[in-house]
């Protein structure tokens, strides 16, 4: 697989178009707006929690940007649905480690589910921010929870 094809795997291109979790709605526990000033990519993400506040029911988001930032938000939406709030920081940290791995990957990317297909981004330093956009928005949202 060429560099470009490993960056833009079919599943990534599919997610960039299908955008799972796209669409904001009322009732969020927290939300965050993130902007990548170098390219103008923009994203607002909401966290919707279970009644007891222990589980992420789903993350909803809206935004505009490159295929990497859109696919990453979509993949995060799939991964986060049903995730215990307490588990989220470690997943975000693992994803960040994967993105900063410069192509080396991480020992165990299983906890990232399909989002691990974004590994190819880590070879392109200029694009890591694109992939991180939604994850930073989730991190920021969780930090606002009581």
């Amino acid at each position: 697989m060429s560099g470009l094809e490993s960056l833009y795997q079919q599943v990534i291109l599919d997610h960039s178009r299908e955008k799972h979790g796209f669409g904001l709605r009322e009732g969020e526990a927290a939300s965050s707006h993130q902007l990548n000033p170098t390219c103008g990519d923009e994203l607002t993400l909401q966290v919707h929690l279970s009644e007891d506040g222990a589980t992420i029911n789903d993350v909803a988001w809206e935004g505009a940007g490159c295929s990497i930032s859109m696919a990453s938000a979509s993949l995060l939406s799939d991964l986060a649905a049903g995730m215990p709030v307490a588990d989220a920081p470690a997943r975000i940290a693992l994803f960040r480690e994967l993105m900063r791995s410069k192509g080396a990957g991480v020992a165990d990317d299983e906890p990232l589910g399909d989002a691990a297909v974004l590994e190819g981004v880590s070879r392109y330093i200029a694009r890591v921010k694109c992939a991180m956009l939604a994850w930073v928005a989730l991190e920021d949202s969780l930090a606002q929870l009581p």
Binding site: S2, G3, L4, L7, Y8, L13, R17, T38, C39, G40, D41, E42, A64, G65, C66, S67, I68, Y124, R127, C130
Partner: protein, 430 residues
Amino acid sequence: MTVQTLPLDDTAVRRIRSDFPELGALVNGKPLVYLDSGATSLKPTNVLDAERWFAENFTAAVHRGAHTLAAEATEQFERARESVAAFVGADADEIVWTSNATEGLNLVAYAIGNATAGRGGAASAQFRLEPGDEIVVTESEHHANLIPWQELAARTGAVVRAIPVDDSGQVTLEAAAEVIGERTRIVAIAHVSNVTAAIAPVDGLVRLARAVGAFVVLDACQSVPHMPVDLHALDVDFAVFSGHKMLAPTGIGVLYGRRDLLNALPPFLTGGSMITTVTLESAEYLPAPQRFEAGTQRISQAIALAAACDYLSVVGLDRIAAHEHELGARLVDGLQQIDGVRLLGPTDAVARTGLAAFDLEGVHAHDAGQFLDDRGIAVRVGHHCAQPLHRRFGMTASTRASTYLYNTTDDVDAFLDALSGVRSFFGVSA
């Protein structure tokens, strides 16, 4: 002087290319196709050599010290100023060294702010802004020719007003006449837009500004490197440009100002080398340009900028402009034949230089740029420091290909050929 109007032929471009070491580079295993000179240009060996030659032979701070090296360095430094002044039709004492064009624009804006605060005595009264005075820019300005004026307005109570561009991204005199009025004190405009490539009607804008007694500040970043520019003939009050966009290193730029205005303007940065008498209470300042050159200067970079001007002059700015005009027309024609391309800027080749920014329907600029980079083709993606203009066109980012004297029609064709495969790669078209 004979005026050459013939564009560069293939042999001439081949010879030019051999002077640019980076043009031999492989990027992602492909020969580099460099179409990002609008952001920063490649450097020829004579420029690189000039900087090294200076550093190896004349290391000394200028305008201070009496030893031989200091005197020789000062001599070289001032000779560079004369060369650069001649290159843009100005006199040497009208040329102020800056780090880049951005610093030049900030220098003017802060100096006017200082005048408004009462600095500079009677001579600077002409620059003082009153609340409600207007600073006029255009909708297509680079952020560097917008934000310093926003900040100046916020400090003084002046108001920034923008001349809207038309649907092709051009500034028309009709639109300008609607905005430039009796409260206008400053008109700050780009000579050539870094996004649309449109050449502004500077003569008409200067007339409109003169009629209401406003100063004209010209952002010449995208004109001075690419076409003959005579600042005296343009009759602007201030102008800025950056060395790194015209074959010189980063860290050197120029502020031009009319002699009487520069000498009436209070300083921006203060410190060593810009003074006559200093006491513990106050200081008196040298005339321009030294009053704007506080601290040890970018000396070897200035020498290198003069070498860059020499290089461009030997090739001939009129021939470079004609060459880029051809490449620009080829770019625009080719882009219009690719499905989903929406060009930002005029399609009329007469009104534009050799760059083209565009939107590719269904594909984000970053993705298009990544695809091109994989083929060794370097273009700019993003908002090109012109967010308001992109907003005007209803987008956040575009892709820009920009040419220079060392680009060939093959470069343009390689870019167009690669670009035509982008939408199908991303699954947007069959």
